[in-house]
Symmetry: C2
């Protein structure tokens, strides 16, 4: 634990592996680390596949480094055959940043039998926070329920779009309004950037956010490192805005904490149920009965619940 | 229930809404319907955003209709700002198919507080199955852990790719081998189709599937209804193959049943815990304590677990 608090990269990596595997002892460690968390700014970055999120995240990390801020990156990889980027991306990133002790990059690809990608990500963020990283960037693809839920728990969320995406404006749902505190139009040297900007503005003008914040739109060309400083400045602007509205800030933090408790509880319940109410043998036999239509799954679960006294 | 068994579309729609909201009584209904399930062929269709899945699904439904088979479609929409298609797509679909009593189309967008997109989708499939739909097509975007998990539970899974996607072959992960029983290269009138085909073949030749099946690659142009019959024929081929291998077939069905039991259990546990071990007041107070760093979330969950006697 002292190694983590001292920011030792290898200790941090080991701890994240432990929470990823829900290894025993990892929750004791997290309890100890908890009082040391809450200092990092957690930035969520999400966007459609191919929007250039990884490059943008790299540029942002490098920018923070240039300000002498330690930066941790958690790239949530839903282990989809189509998301792809993470594996290749990691290798490229490792080469350019592995030697910098102030940058920690981790891809969360594995998902245990019991689920808990959101839980594992939150734990990894807590470890980086306790280890003294000033900024923790959580990058997810903006498709998939788990992935969108994860990025919602950041302090500031950046939605990355690209020109041309808005060709079909109806493809961008109203839900984007709640998710994005800052919008980045990446690949902004491409045709159609003004149109995309106008379309986002139009969407933003339809509905007002409950906090009254008007999300800024920043144009970036991550491959050429253009717009990075402006993006970072706008992330800070939202941070300052929300800190200045104590009621909203507390409500947001409480709602994040609530989601985290429920996520942890969900996982612990299933572990306990599998340990106490439903042995591996019972589960395998029940699965066979269900697949042969001799028993319905609802009745199986009723049995397990009553065994557990629930 | 008799209305559902008779295939009444409005009764089916009501039942699906009930399971989506986890309304009380819906699990009693599902228990009753269970003995009437297991007849439909469940076809999972997944692919990257923009691969033209919805159009392909429409064509396939129309093909099945032309063979006088009743077809149900569940489009799983992860309510992402980027997936977009479902809302617009639904409207178009409704116009062309709403009048056909042999086609049922439903988009599963809502996700309740307790999660359970996978559970709700499985229940909706069971309802359509019991209602006598010969084919049930489950369409998901192939990004996102939940969405990939859902499509894995189909009897036959079709992975939809488009030419040019393989520009970066490393973006297609090895995981695709397990997911796809049949591959469709849609938009096959575009440049690069042969290259994409070769790249898929190369990937398929690297690793052998445990069942020995060599997934066929079908070229389609869904917008012009080209390749639909061939796709349907290859879906049937895999179906026949797996039915001929009783051991593999039973193992697959049992593994799907197992996943379904666990998914149901997960949801029931959380409901019970929230009802018995953790009132809304307790949860809100705990969330506030956690967000103020006065209490860590792991200890909160320990308390709830011990209250529940787990």
């Amino acid at each position: 634990m002292s190694e983590i608090l001292a920011g030792d990269k290898r200790a941090v990596a080991r701890a994240i592996s432990a929470v990823e595997d829900s290894r025993s002892g990892s929750s004791a460690l997290l309890k100890e680390l908890f009082p040391h968390t809450g200092k990092a700014l957690v930035v969520g970055i999400t966007g459609a596949p191919g929007a250039g999120k990884s490059t943008l995240v790299d540029r942002l990390s490098a920018f923070y480094r240039s300000k002498n801020e330690r930066t941790g990156v958690i790239a949530v990889d839903p282990s989809s055959p189509f998301s792809g980027g993470a594996i290749l991306g990691d290798r490229i990133r490792m080469q350019s940043m592995a030697t910098d002790p102030g940058v920690f990059i981790r891809s969360m690809a594995a998902r245990g039998h019991l689920g808990g990608l959101a839980r594992a990500t939150a734990d990894a963020v807590a470890i980086l926070d306790a280890a003294g990283y000033d900024k923790v960037i959580v990058e997810t693809v903006g498709v998939g329920q788990d992935e969108v839920d994860i990025v919602k728990t950041a302090d500031v969320t950046v939605v990355v779009l690209v020109p041309g995406m808005g060709d079909d404006i109806q493809a961008i749902k109203a839900g984007i309004m709640e998710i994005g505190d800052v919008f980045a139009i990446n690949k902004a040297d491409r045709e159609g950037v003004l149109r995309t900007e106008k379309e986002i503005e139009a969407l933003l003008s339809i509905s007002e956010r409950p906090d009254g914040w008007r999300p800024p739109i920043v144009k970036t060309v991550a491959t050429e490192d253009k717009g990075t400083a402006e993006l970072a400045a706008n992330i800070d602007l939202y941070r300052e805005f929300i800190l200045g509205r104590a009621d909203l800030y507390e409500a947001r933090r409480a709602s994040v904490a609530r989601a985290r408790i429920v996520e942890l509880l969900r996982e612990r319940l299933l572990s306990a149920a599998l340990a106490k109410g439903m042995t591996e043998d019972f589960l395998n036999q029940a699965a066979r009965m269900v697949s042969e239509r001799k028993q319905d799954p609802y009745t199986v679960v009723d049995q397990v619940m009553s065994r557990l006294g629930l």
